[in-house]
Symmetry: C2
Subunit: 419 residues, 2 copies
Amino acid sequence: MRLIANRIREVFELYGYGEIITPAFEHLDLLVAKAGEEVVKQIYSFRDKAGRLLGLRFEMTTPIARVIASNPMLPRPVRLYYIQPVWRYEEPQKGRYREFWQAGVELIGAECPEGDAEVVALTVRALQKAGLKGFVVKVNDRELVEGLLEEANVAPSQWVSAMRTIDKLEKRGESYVIQELAKLGLGESGARTLITRLNSLKGSIEVLSQLSSTGSERLNRGVRRLEAILSELKDGYGISNEVVIDATIVRGLDYYTSFVFEVVVPKADVGSVAGGGRYDDLIALVGGPKIPATGMAIGLERLIHAIEAENGAIGDYRVVEAVVIPVDPELRVYAARVAESLRSAGIRTMLEFGTRKLGKALERADKLGVRVAVIVGRSDIEEGVCTVRDMEKRVQERVLLDSVAEKVLSIVKSNLKSD
Amino acid sequence: MRLIANRIREVFELYGYGEIITPAFEHLDLLVAKAGEEVVKQIYSFRDKAGRLLGLRFEMTTPIARVIASNPMLPRPVRLYYIQPVWRYEEPQKGRYREFWQAGVELIGAECPEGDAEVVALTVRALQKAGLKGFVVKVNDRELVEGLLEEANVAPSQWVSAMRTIDKLEKRGESYVIQELAKLGLGESGARTLITRLNSLKGSIEVLSQLSSTGSERLNRGVRRLEAILSELKDGYGISNEVVIDATIVRGLDYYTSFVFEVVVPKADVGSVAGGGRYDDLIALVGGPKIPATGMAIGLERLIHAIEAENGAIGDYRVVEAVVIPVDPELRVYAARVAESLRSAGIRTMLEFGTRKLGKALERADKLGVRVAVIVGRSDIEEGVCTVRDMEKRVQERVLLDSVAEKVLSIVKSNLKSD
């Protein structure tokens, strides 16, 4: 997890995003804002000793929107990222537990499609850097879907319900969704036509041509925005193979206003590993001025599952580079000094306490994947030397104390992996 | 916070510790184990929808002890660290809110005093690396205090209460503590004598000489352990000026069995910034085998307060190194490409969207402390160049696209601060 989180953090910072930390729980009503009833049911809520109703955060966008709402003078666009746990009381699924970690960004104050493109691009780069390969970014625009609902004569007051229903296509299947949509004034044949229409809008940018110019202003706004984002992704970032249009993607949170996307890994059975979109009304809704914004979150456990499905288990972050082993407990002070000198040189060094035999200590170092063992023997102190052993090549040599750190560094560096 | 946390993380890893992540909440009874009644009152607890009584973790040692208890085959000693929030429902104090972050380590499976010395040494190094200067490490041993209670004829069943009372010396004052101790079978004069005795045991290692050889086995064990730790710290790690003995330090958590320490900053009014000790019984208590262990935690908000009290505000982690500014929205695609090339070279780069005037964009970059601005002008595209501006030296030059990343890197590197 740390390895993956660190790689993602690195990409977020490469795009100029700064970390924000928000509290784990807040007043329940402040957490909710415009999340959608489904998700609100999943909040862990409780009363504190003063009787206040609190809840554990179940996503990060609303708490961050509130920070922005109360600091409206921040120079915009504001670029923020987080890597934090959230909590949802739902049935545990593959890669999704009741506590799970999200790594995400919010780009606040950019109205242009280039902002959406930046968020998609850094998502793609972060997933690639984490080691994920076979993923697809499905993009859509809620205004496009709303335009189609408009054409089908669904009243605007029903759009939110319609979106929530369409969002269940993957989970509940088409016939369930058609049945539910039918109740919203569409009738069954209208609902069926709508779903057929949405399903036909999947693929490369050309699928949008069947919509252009014939539709409502709302529909056209959605189409133009998608076209602008896709072209910026292609020409500005060189990202095109990874992205497809899919008009059935609307995302489950009610606060999205136009562009939405999610990332799926066809070969891994874990649901979407990332998702996001534009939420131009949320900051005003939580008490701030109207500020356009777009964001995304990666589900870290799901991502790890997906990477493991591709590559097998993810190698552990190799913490310890060197171990210092006194062959006798009485040499411990001397060994501690040697270890300190290695640490001063920036080498991650573990100290053995001399309580196990040399052979056992070496065996253990091997198991931990430690590259270098520095062995301190009895006669070494007088001679001012110790033995430096390359655990991988299984060779060792006696080295003067002054040059131990240098020697260890040269072995450790010869092993640098590409990351 | 991130800057400080990263520096501390670096030190933990230098000592060969690996990160552990534990859940934010668990079954309430599993969190508590042997924490002490005071602290248990401060747990945020609630029932989930299945009626189970859960609690938010208020410290990390017990949850980690449980992980070890259920994985008794892990090769020992196990070295673990964490940098995580915990929650306590108490009156907010300076540097202590209801959610606060702890950065700590657990060294599990080392019985020798060299283990305690390692934990103290890495605490000292972590605090130094974080930038703290005027701190004092107060060390003590609960067996030493128990030995004195034994001599004063306090029944062993009262020792835990006595410890909790002595722990209040700082907060409630001597007369309160004497009054409370008197009730434990000591009488008032006995209590006064005990406190005088404890107060006389403050200072360098020599203060222990008044105890040696005359006391009980328990007392002597405490004395010998302290002596061994102090001598290892001095000879193995070169740490002696920062450490003093203080027999009134017993720590507030009931699970400590012998060595305890805390770190105070005399000039900053924030309580202790770090503390820890040995807890040889806790892992057995939570269902594992008997495994000796020692650990410590740093309170990050308190540490930051203390550092700020010494140095003024801590500089922000400077995230953005370069900004790419198209002078016109139509140059955005080209600007995005330039930004991507800088990121590929590892430069943290923010992209302007061309929606503000060049002057404004430069002003903003200045405010954010960005070192380099790369300006993309209209004629630049044809000529294959752009303008690289050193914001600090206020000089700029036109550079061929191929060498932009190199040029920006050379400016950013010329500015590397000592950390």
